[in-house]
Amino acid sequence: MNLWVRITGWLAFVLAAGYMLVPLFGMTEFSLKARRGVYSLDAYARVIGDTEFQATFGYSVTLALATIVLGVLIVVPTAFWVRLKMPWARPFVEFLTLLPLVIPAIVLVFGYIRLYNTSSFLPLTGSAAGTNLLLALGYTVLALPYMYRAIDTGLRTIDVPTLTEAAQSLGAGWVTILWRIVLPNVMVAVLSGAFLTFAIVIGEYTLAALLDRPAFGPYLQRIGTNKPYEPFALSVISFAITWACMGLIQLATRLSKHTKAQR
């Protein structure tokens, strides 16, 4: 290969990496400076020791898990059915699932509040449980583009119609087919979708704030305006969570044993 091409390639890589890593490094460095003159984990200790951190973080994790379950329950059968019976509808469904990327969350949440307020036909915002449910449903919508893409791509690696017919001829009904054949075969895709969903929900601010729920996103925001070092420690923690999710996606892909042949 031409030497110049190689040098330019490396240069571009170093610039891009620097562009992303330098601020991260600065942020991390600053978060360690809570004690004057030395590096320490004081900021982290204070953040993690904060009961509000624990409560909001726990709340968001629970909500993320609920969102993942909801998403899987909605998306796997839908993507399966579209592939099996209505391949012509795929572009429309894809477009529909991409809408949350186009419609700002703020618009979405005002729509929800209008639709489900206390004087509506379904007063979800009237109770804490109802609002939690509404928030989980909202997150499911926000995560839809990622979930649907991941699972639909996963379905592409198997011959859905033939496997379905094989299972049917062996006596299986729809639930058995989905549970024992489809889901295990798209597990890697489901996990990538799940980790992405987790990363999104953990830091989400708009929906949680406007529905007035004690989630991690609004907590981050509040700390950020009130404390010097803690926000940076929190940011580092958030980054670590997101990256851990990405790492887990990679791990899941590696560990799946029966899909090796198709790679």
Binding site: I158, D159, T162, L163, E165, A166, A167, Q168, S169, L170, G171, A172, G173, T176, R180, I181, P184, N185, M187, K257, H258, T259, K260, A261, Q262
Partner: protein, 350 residues
Amino acid sequence: MSFLTIEHLEKSFGTNRVVQNFNLTIEKGEFVSLLGPSGCGKTTVLRMVAGFETPSTGRIVIGGKDVVNLRPNQRNIGMVFQAYALFPNLTVADNIGFGLKVAGRPRAERTARVAEMLKLIGLPDLGDRFPFQLSGGQQQRVALARALAPSPQVLLLDEPLSALDAKVRVSLRNEIRAIQKKLGITTIFVTHDQEEALSMSDRVVVMHGGRAEQVGTPFEVYNRPATKFVANFVGMLNTLEADVIDPATGRVRIGGTETSLRRALPAGRVTLAARPEMIALGVQPGRDTILEGKITSVDFLGSVIRIRARVDGSELAFDTFNSTDAPPPAPGSDVRLSLLASDLLLLQDP
């Protein structure tokens, strides 16, 4: 009373009628092939029996019960697909045991049945493998075992051998037939390979344009084709134009030769046909018709030699056996061919 009856079966996709007035009865334990060119509706018939397509009209009766309104998972039918269709997430043993598991059979029974099936297909030690760790032939055998494990009433196979290479294809077709006989399971086998159909089946259904053109044993279909299409599609065929001189006794003139088929023929010009094995090189005893021709090509295939000769404007292909002391004739040389006129087939449109 036959075990499986298909009556007046029809199927249209939109305005496209792909199966028309299809009738077939199959006895218990019989092996029947659907043979025909691509697009003639073989798969569609099979899928209607399996329940994956709904007939536009017609009845399908299995074991005295009309199954048309049953869903595929209620029909107790085993199906083997061209693309194997093994579940990639399950081991070989779990694939084979899938039908029993769905049916809620206890674990001990499943384990025993899976072991029995693995032995039946000759892969007793591969139960723990995943499908991607098997060859195509092994995968298809597992697919067969999976279809047979729940003891279905009928076994359906849709071109199960066409994804395999030639050697495996021949050995596996013998194996499938042996297993089918051993279990005595009623079987419908779809193929577009005539050799497969003729060698495996009790009876063959030759399909064309969504219809069954002829139903018969391989011997009948090959030696007494009912229509021009069947004659052409099954086996290799040489056609000869002939003028009928005397319709009552079957006297005809082929080129410069006069001979008699010894059976009544329609008057005028007819198309006669000869299988390659009806034609012999040289004048042979017991053959009453001699044709003069010129060799156009000689293909040495090993134990047989395929020779083509031009006779009276049409080309005839026939085979001779290789022999160490008689080399085949050279292209361009004049030859005499002999055949028995009463063997000749009369080709007619239905």
